[in-house]
């Protein structure tokens, strides 16, 4: 009887031990986390560059920027959008999101403010998702405040929430993929890539007070 329980406990410990058995040190995991956060901030800077009508980035420059940002995502990754009017999320391939959704902001708005705040990545829960591939999950809060021409003409310099045409906050969840990559010149190494960025909830920041 006792032998049976001991075997069961041993098996349980072994299984849970194996599931946590990842080939990375704590330092490596921290580095992956910081790198993913950097990629996200780089992604935001691309969104700002593409959506600001005042930025001097011509078509080629924009294309380079889009391609550079796309390289930080795993192939096939999607960005989900949600709006106050339509709370059914819609998914876009990364490059399509940048080329159409974001690029269109500068035609519709005179001022676009986008920020990623509270970026949290659960690096302790690294899950194996295939051969030489691991996944971490994270969350962030996206602040998106814009002014159309009319509101911009009224108060161009004010950043008071109420002065914006739209000012909303979206709770998003994202995936971070750690993948073993083999390159002829650089050898075998682990690379960090961003996965899908999904929209969960949205709230209007205007009229909150």
């Amino acid at each position: 009887m006792y032998k049976g329980i001991a075997t069961f406990v041993f098996l349980l410990i072994s299984v849970s031990g194996f599931s946590q058995n990842v080939p990375f040190s704590k330092e490596q995991q921290d580095k992956f986390t910081r790198q993913a956060k950097d990629y996200l901030q780089d992604f935001v800077r691309t969104v700002i560059l593409l959506s600001d009508p005042k930025k001097s980035c011509d078509a080629t420059c924009q294309e380079y920027r889009i391609q550079g940002t796309e390289d930080h995502f795993i192939k096939g990754a999607k960005i989900q959008t949600i709006s106050l009017n339509n709370k059914n999320p819609r998914s876009w391939p990364v490059s399509q999101y940048l080329r159409t959704v974001v690029n269109n902001y500068k035609n519709r708005y005179r001022l676009v403010i986008v920020k990623f705040n509270n970026i949290v990545i659960d690096s302790d829960k690294l899950q194996p998702i295939g051969n030489n591939m691991y996944k971490m999950k994270g969350s962030l809060t996206q602040e998106f405040c814009v002014k159309n021409a009319q509101d911009f003409a009224k108060e161009s310099n004010t950043t008071n929430v109420e002065s914006f045409t739209i000012c909303e906050e979206t709770q998003k969840e994202f995936e971070v993929i750690i993948k073993k990559q083999l390159s002829a010149s650089l050898g075998e190494r682990w690379v960090v890539l961003l996965g899908d960025v999904n929209a969960k909830t949205i709230k209007n920041l205007k009229g909150e007070k």
Binding site: R34, L49, S56, C57, Y64, Q67, G68, S185, V191
Partner: protein
């Protein structure tokens, strides 16, 4: 018979090629570098950098030509004492004249001779006097001087403290090697041969933002030139011009496939954002589309044994936000 002739031609070409490979830089191109000194100099050692600058400048980018700005005098103008600048020439010792009589030795020897010719310099009184003009008056007198002399291009402010990137449109350079690099660039791009370096001009009281936690950064001459070139791309406002500069830099300085590892802000605190063998894409895609880079620190440069071009580059981008 024909085979012997062909073999002889081949051997002659081969030996000629070897000679070219072995050739030391002996060709020099004369340029002039004048200096405006806008505050008192108390120690003659301060002028050593001027001597260094007028000694033949050799750079991989100027290939086989060294730029020589030396003369029998160091040509200086003193600002800060009166609205009109005072001309102050410091003569070289006779050894420089001997050097001219006995012909041109190698560049290294020329540099040594010039340093020797200007050693133990006595500071002329005008250089040691304290300023009587206010900073804005000094700036105005220098501007008037530049207008009178019709100097537009080839003017640099040399300020070890750094601060602004430009004053009145004149680039501020904080590193002597970078200054040499810029002079070489101007010569290569526009065949410019007349240069003016403004020293000790009152600069804004805002020190350059300190970059903390960086590892020891190489400040060798070539790296300083590379840094200036990368910053020029990053700081440009016209995207097409930035791409042209990036393409030119890639063609001139990098191997076809070079490796770039780029960190943001600090290699201690942040991981790399770019770690690929497609360095060309880094130069063309990222560096030309980034808008907030305020500084670049070069951490590591490796060159190809074949052609001396850069095959490996590790750097840190420092951003405004």
């Amino acid at each position: 018979m024909l085979r012997t002739v062909i073999l002889s031609i081949f051997l002659a070409s081969f030996l000629d090629g070897c000679e070219l490979l072995k050739k030391d830089i002996t060709e020099t191109e004369a340029i002039t570098i004048d200096f405006i000194v806008a505050d008192a100099i108390k120690d003659p050692d301060e002028l050593r950098e001027f001597v260094d600058l007028v000694s033949p400048i050799v750079s991989a980018r100027s290939e086989e030509v060294a730029l020589k700005g030396y003369d029998k005098f160091l040509h200086l103008y003193r600002a800060g004492l009166a609205p009109d600048l005072t001309k102050v020439d410091i003569p070289a010792k006779e050894s420089l004249l001997n050097f001219e009589i006995f012909g041109s030795p190698g560049i290294t020897k020329q540099r040594e001779d010039i340093q020797a010719a200007f050693s133990d310099m006595q500071l002329p009184e005008d250089l040691t006097k304290s300023n009587t003009l206010k900073p804005e008056e000094i700036l105005s007198s220098v501007k008037t001087f530049l207008g009178k002399e019709k100097v537009k291009d080839g003017v640099f402010i040399y300020s070890k403290e750094g601060g602004s990137s430009a004053i009145e449109g004149i680039p501020v350079v904080s590193n002597l090697d970078s200054l040499k690099g810029l002079i070489v660039d101007k010569y290569l791009q526009n065949k410019l041969k007349k240069f003016l370096v403004i020293y000790k001009i009152p600069v804004e009281d805002t020190p350059a933002e300190k970059v903390a936690e960086l590892p020891s950064v190489s400040t060798s001459g070539e790296n300083a030139i590379l840094k200036e070139s990368l910053l020029k791309i990053a700081a440009g406002t016209d995207p097409a011009e930035r791409r042209a500069l990036a393409e030119e830099l890639f063609q001139n300085a990098f191997t076809e496939q070079f490796y770039v590892k780029m960190h943001r802000e600090s290699v201690d605190a942040e991981p790399e954002l770019w770690d690929y063998n497609d360095g060309k894409n880094y130069l063309l895609r990222r560096l030309t589309s980034e808008e907030s880079i305020k500084d670049i620190q070069i951490i590591k440069v490796e060159r190809s044994g074949e052609n001396g071009k850069i095959s490996h580059l590790q750097l840190v981008e420092i951003h405004h936000n």
